[in-house]
Symmetry: C2
Subunit: 343 residues, 2 copies
């Protein structure tokens, strides 16, 4: 008669016997089924209030916590939601994560964050993310921008819903438009779009620069020059010098984010150009640092809370109807130009 495969457990120096639903059932004097039902708030009305109370007390007393493993095994999926972060630097990153976590928690799920590696871009077969999804079998994947279409397809195929951070096209078109409009309204007719040179394949940058280009076309302006700016003095200076050589002054630069914007601003300083008279700069994000440097950055400020609302929507649509979806904010209310000293 085979013995319990305790060897594996025992070899672990930690992990003293865990409290299981059986323990709770025993202490409460009921069956595991009852425990399961009560603790999951299912069919609670069918049990005597007394019983429910006893079970809850027993669970609390023993410090019982459902095993994700057991639950995941029988459910076919876990209670985790994976938030995938691209390799580009977000300045207000923690704020976004926190907002997402809060929403995800409302649905009874736990949040885990996955960072896409730098060179994980388009690895052949199984990226780290795909492996994570396969093993963790999460309830959902929130895409902050790092997922390729292929990965999204694979994951949605037979794993779980993929929730994009927001309608990428609309949002980025809107942001680019805001930037271009603002620069134009300040009297700049020569525009450029500054990509973060470090990022291989900006998921956002493309849409935004296109949007700037569309605006220029519509307004009869010369098409915007593209430049790739590294977050590093020399490189940034060179990139800007190239732009000036091509377009002259004054020129307005719409930047991919605040970091790029800061790099451009100080590159201008180093080139002896005046900001904003010779070079006007507008970023995106509204991070703290952009507002603390001199000159204070003009930027497109995003409302973090609003921008994650639709994640709650997607979650509500797929899972629990008990959680009120909340208003889905209009684009105009989520983003606005924060006027600084660089335009």
């Amino acid at each position: 008669m085979p013995r319990r495969p305790d060897a594996g457990r025992a070899s672990s120096p930690f992990g003293g016997r865990r409290v299981t639903s059986v323990d709770v059932a025993r202490l409460a004097g009921v069956s595991r089924t009852t425990v399961s039902d009560v603790l999951n708030d299912q069919r609670v009305e069918r049990y005597h209030p007394n019983t429910v109370e006893r079970v809850r007390n027993a669970a609390a007393e023993l410090g019982y916590v459902r095993s994700a493993a057991g639950r995941a095994l029988v459910m076919g999926r876990s209670d985790f939601v994976v938030v995938v972060v691209p390799h580009v630097t977000y300045m207000r990153f923690q704020d976004i994560i926190e907002a997402l976590t809060s929403h995800i928690e409302d649905f009874g799920f736990s949040t885990v964050v996955h960072f896409k590696g730098a060179k994980e871009k388009e690895s052949p077969g199984r990226s780290r993310l795909l492996n994570l999804v396969d093993t963790l079998r999460p309830a959902g994947v929130v895409d902050l921008g790092g997922l390729s279409a292929r990965e999204v397809a694979i994951i949605e195929e037979n794993s779980c819903p993929v929730i994009p951070q927001e309608e990428p096209v609309d949002v980025n078109v809107w942001i680019g438009l805001l930037q271009a409009e603002h620069l134009h309204s300040r009297g700049f007719t020569e525009l450029a779009y500054a990509f973060l040179s470090d990022a291989r394949d900006e998921p956002y940058g493309r849409a935004r620069s296109t949007s700037v280009a569309d605006y220029c076309a519509a307004e009869g302006l010369t098409a915007p020059t593209h430049l790739h700016v590294p977050i590093e003095s020399e490189g940034a200076r060179e990139a800007l010098a190239g732009l000036i050589e091509e377009r002259g002054c004054p020129v307005g630069v719409a930047c991919h984010n605040d970091e790029v914007a800061i790099a451009v601003v100080f590159a201008a300083h180093r080139l002896g150009l005046r900001v904003p008279d010779d070079v006007a700069v507008i970023g995106v994000e509204g991070g703290d640092l952009g507002q603390v440097v001199a000159p204070r950055l003009t930027t497109v400020l995003g409302d973090v809370a609003a921008s994650v609302q639709h994640v709650r929507h997607s979650l509500a649509q797929t899972y629990g109807g008990s959680v009120p979806p909340g208003e889905i904010p209009r684009l105009e209310d989520v983003f606005r130009v924060l006027s600084g000293e660089t335009t």
Copy 2:
């Protein structure tokens, strides 16, 4: 006769039947045991090379991935390592995560990142993290600084080993010392330590400021003034003004990180003070932004790769001996002062 509890599965619109080890076994014409052994690289030498090959091919062909749930259930713990990130902003954050992920991967584990919430500081009973650990039962927890002593105790009690980012005391004492020494070597005798005011309870700040204080005491300098700097123009200006009022000029400010340093530098500008003549500033981290602004920041540059080496050590100590631990670098080699234009 109870039927398979497929309802739960079926209710899920996704999650088509998963490939299990049984499928692999069938295709390879062997037993589940063999599959398990081969795919875990255990007892491989006991099987016919042919068999091993067949199993591997079958697994690859079917795209078989071990179920984390099944494995965790029987092992008593999962193959995930949780990296806990405190709510303070790291500038070179993604680099650190990537380095850690790479090491963790070498041990066959997957990395998931957990962000400590802002107000999750010392919540009463079950913090999000504790809940995550209880349900996920990770192979380890890497603490980047957000864990309270209580949490560490609870987790180590009966869950898994907690790996601190590095010996916190030594490292932070060293960093503080480097900052103080550098400022002093530049001729500054009036020193101050600038905390990030936003962070409630800096795990690092305390040790560093104490170290600066110790240096001052040892060198016969006045004890350093403590100031709390927000990443925001007005607040930073006020904080610095207070310092100047108390200590006069010139004064050297050791900052908690590059963000704080940048805030101090531009606060000085706004107060009409010269940097570094009136106010000298040194940060910590060596992030990109500090080197792109003008004046270029003097900072304590950390070697990311080296600073995560000991995580590999801890992992090797607890798990696999097959992975070479790698050199554990000396403190002197990990951190050095990067001279900029602010001292």
